[in-house]
Subunit: 171 residues, 3 copies
């Protein structure tokens, strides 16, 4: 990691357990506080509750946490400074599960990302590198995620791909 | 993307919805026309029909389209100039579904790629980065695709890996 | 591939059929013999038997083979020189299937990797780049593999990501 100042929009892309969140947190800490953690996860079951608690413990008390499983746009508009959005994959999943229009919501998200008051680091999963998913829903999600990643990457100043905790610069 | 002239054989590798086709099209447009789009997709259902139409609309009228779901070799031999082969993953799937010998067909494909009249850009999916597929067919496809990608990559002058619409040079 | 001398610990990460084993073998051959192939695969069915035989034939007679489906630690301690551990994914799968504690075994493995007598090249799969696995076991494996890869990568002197037989330097 270089010591370059944090640009307006950074996308941290990678697989599950690739160290995305940790790396993204380190990036945000380069900006001046306050730091906001915008959480899109919903604690619907024990597995999720455990993950959320694990992440929260690691960040420590210096972070303000904002829960935004669906209203990411409202959350971004009211940020007091640098923020980490973790993650677009859960947000997209929440949007689809709520029956909202992915295309419309993606457009609005892109607009919100562009008008954030402080620097943003956005975490997202790459999910298209396995074999074709067996269910139509699996394929629809994979496609929607891929399209969203492309759009955010095109708008981002910097894009990193994480593997085994190590960043690879894409942009 | 640099402005380097298009080499004889380029492999554009990546996940689903990673921007492979779009990037590959941009590469082919660097060569002099005519440009041929060699389509391996078969419009077997509405999902495929929609994808094919979407890609065709984007390319516009300047491209000649050649359908070659199985006879990729015949198509390559008769090309009038630069071409995009989109994609090896569907072709391999068609070969396996038709009960043909993957090894024999791959050998013949490699020979055809080497004797093409004009520069070729070949699109293929990386499908081996998820957990082990549950079905024997899923594992067989993943393995065959991985082996084919290795062989085409070894023969290629240039190999790019796409993620979120951004190219990463592998060779 | 450069001609740099083999460091103490190298991690070769990649998807299925990405050329990991072949590349890792080439790395080990840069060290002085004897070379040991530490195999974590168990020949439980014909599919596995075939893969094991295929790999063994390729390496040839100059390699000493050590079977260590579970006791990777004992194997590492007794190595006579440079070695290839192929692979952590099967080892982790064996550990989980045997009902052992993944966290404890991972800690012990990391300690063993750090105290090996000769240079080690370790092969592991990246499995987190598909859609979310449907089964709890699938998700647990994906998470455990991702965490293990991060830890080994942090301890490694060099990490390469393989795609289509081509190495990409991560560290």
């Amino acid at each position: 990691m270089t010591d370059a100042p944090l640009p307006r929009l950074t996308l941290v892309l990678g697989g599950a357990r690739s160290g995305k969140s940790r790396y993204a947190e380190e990036l945000v800490l380069r900006a001046d506080p306050p730091w906001t953690y915008v959480a899109t996860a919903e604690a619907l079951d024990d597995e999720m509750r455990e993950r959320i608690a694990h992440h929260r413990d690691r960040r420590g008390a210096d972070w303000h946490t904002l829960d935004a499983p669906l209203d990411l746009l409202g959350a971004i508009g009211g940020l007091p400074g640098a923020a980490l959005i973790d993650c677009l994959t859960l947000w997209l999943s929440n949007v689809m599960f709520a029956g909202r229009d992915v295309e419309v919501e993606s457009e609005r998200l892109l607009a919100a990302l562009g008008s954030a008051p402080g620097p943003l680091v956005v975490v997202s999963n790459e999910v298209g590198l396995g074999i074709v998913p067996e269910t139509p829903l699996g394929r629809a999600f994979r496609d929607a995620q891929g399209r969203l990643n492309q759009r955010v990457a095109a708008a981002a100043d910097r894009v990193v791909f994480m593997a085994a905790g190590l960043p690879l610069s894409l942009k």
